[in-house]
Symmetry: D2
Subunit: 225 residues, 4 copies
Amino acid sequence: MSRGLFDRLKTDNAALWDAYTHHDFVTGMQTGALPKTAFQYYLKQDYLFLIQFARAYALAIYKADNLTEMRSALAGVKAILEMEMDLHVGYCADWGIAASELETLEEAPQNIAYTRFVLERGMAGDLLDLMVALSPCAIGYGEIGARLAKSRKTKIEGNPYITWIEMYAGAEYQQLVTDMTAEIDALATKRFTEARFPDLSKTFATATRLEADFWQMGLTAEHAS
Amino acid sequence: MSRGLFDRLKTDNAALWDAYTHHDFVTGMQTGALPKTAFQYYLKQDYLFLIQFARAYALAIYKADNLTEMRSALAGVKAILEMEMDLHVGYCADWGIAASELETLEEAPQNIAYTRFVLERGMAGDLLDLMVALSPCAIGYGEIGARLAKSRKTKIEGNPYITWIEMYAGAEYQQLVTDMTAEIDALATKRFTEARFPDLSKTFATATRLEADFWQMGLTAEHAS
Amino acid sequence: MSRGLFDRLKTDNAALWDAYTHHDFVTGMQTGALPKTAFQYYLKQDYLFLIQFARAYALAIYKADNLTEMRSALAGVKAILEMEMDLHVGYCADWGIAASELETLEEAPQNIAYTRFVLERGMAGDLLDLMVALSPCAIGYGEIGARLAKSRKTKIEGNPYITWIEMYAGAEYQQLVTDMTAEIDALATKRFTEARFPDLSKTFATATRLEADFWQMGLTAEHAS
Amino acid sequence: MSRGLFDRLKTDNAALWDAYTHHDFVTGMQTGALPKTAFQYYLKQDYLFLIQFARAYALAIYKADNLTEMRSALAGVKAILEMEMDLHVGYCADWGIAASELETLEEAPQNIAYTRFVLERGMAGDLLDLMVALSPCAIGYGEIGARLAKSRKTKIEGNPYITWIEMYAGAEYQQLVTDMTAEIDALATKRFTEARFPDLSKTFATATRLEADFWQMGLTAEHAS
């Protein structure tokens, strides 16, 4: 396979990928026009999302075939539980969301759908299934961040979402994207067959659709409020 | 515990339970006014739902502590894979949905959310967590069927949904409800503590909300079509 | 792959496979010289073994990618829980082992080692990993039975183990062997890569070694008694 | 429950606990008479053991009900993958075992039996089942270390095993023992019922027996060599 598996998955689901990465919520962050209540709702759900993603990386440690894979997945758990959770709580505070509120949130159905789909797909399948299910989030956010940071259409001054964009466009997150893409390609070397492509592509498609639903959840919550 | 656990869970989540069991979709089946396209959409998703529920009962076999629990869960898998799936395909045919269409359906997010939540809760927790997550569907459908079958407000003649109502009100399904309630209470004897009630009630609440979303999915699909 | 995966695994582990399928315990059944206490100990542990194998097939239902795989695995659960367990209890009775004794047995370490290895390998890996871990037992018993039934060295008259040999040499069990071999080859079509061969061969080797240990357990128990 | 669950489990399995914590292998370390080849064999298997225990703690992250439990389990994974593995490799080098040898070891059946029993019990049950299965190792080693360090019968000078004893008797490991005991008791507050005691005690008994087998494995290997 001369081209990486992640690239093939993205190409095979180009319309869904576009709908997710160019969702109105994303464009709203780019222009700064996204209602703050929409972003706040998203931020709160994202807190719960991180907890489930830490569990997904823990599952990846359990599912790993060797120490290299175990340590790579451990880095994911640590990044979330030891850094991102705290950053997120601080970021939420900047947006007027108290830590105490985060503790009592109810998970939105769109949040449940995506996170449990990933965890369950990973448990039933192998590590490649799990990583493919995780990839639209982990890699997609990096792609969105990098694109918005480069785009001349992106409002910089006075855009309350610029820190979000800069975080995902930043070197640290971009490295994570590079690592994850490389890890999927490495797993593919061992576990990918053409016969699996339809199932893997379906997993990728579902996860991408559920990510778009996650953006939509923010917009809908805003309309509802 | 003089009262059964299932009863306590229902009482603790009375408003959610009512919203689920008296959903507009249900009332639409009762009066016959439910748009056929809504029901057809529901039927198709229910086909995919059954497959995931068979997996959930298979998980219950794996999680069982003894042969009695294993055999009880096996009855659930067999009921779905050897009977209900075929009945469902036949029933779909009556509603103009070809078997071939069922093979290529895309799972609705509401379907993914509920089924994967159940499977994942069951895998992470114990058999009691799994059964509590399953119960709003398994027992709720029996409660809805029985209530509609008895109600004088239910349209009988010319109501295209009367066979659905009669199936879930029927002796065979009602026995399944009795068995499942008894099984949850039996598991509770072994595994329930008051300290677990908040978590179990949260699991029950989430599953009940996701069941209401499943009805809503049918109505929304109708409006969309 | 012109040759089936199971054949390759067997060839790659020829010495271990031979040590398992030609173990002294097996030869003892062939000649009738196996001490009865050794066989009785084996029979009792085999009862507990069947329960774990039913769980492994239940796991295979959960792990299946489609209805065909689910139904195939369900056949395995049913065969054990609805038929083999009862046959086994009856067979144990013929050997003077009461059903009540079977209920209170302690699992031998060799039994724990094999069954939990299979279950855990299957949970951490995919359905192919699970089936490869199951295969030395499921297929190996058929190979042993068929060989002993054909061999002129096998004592027929007065051999108390002849019913065991005939059961595994019989058409019904041989069909199961054919099915299982075909299923592994079918799974391989989808999930096998050369890069996975070392890991799969290691799984097969470990399972085969643990099967030989299971025979040895019977002999050792006899010496201890 | 005025007394802690771990204490009850130990009392309920006093003979097995004694057989494990006072095994000839342990006494051999105390007196210094343990053959070096036995200890070397044990050390090598312990390397593979650590990898499986890291997976068990990763499973505990996945199974946790809240962030506190997740972080506690993460500490276990990190302790092993980021510290103990390296210490162990260094310690093995002191005993003449090259790192390269550790990479190609074959797992002993006694190693497979214990580690896969723990992982599988934890997956099928809840977090309390998992922690109870882990406890004979995690807590027992601390008890052995503390007892030997205090005992006047323990040879100090010229005892090649004194560093092993001091490590497990040391403040750092003893804190881990205290934490684990407290965690089991905390989990018990939520998930323990008297009705579960027989199953939990059986899990504890099995794990304790398999730990004794692990010591025996070292002695037997020595006799074999």
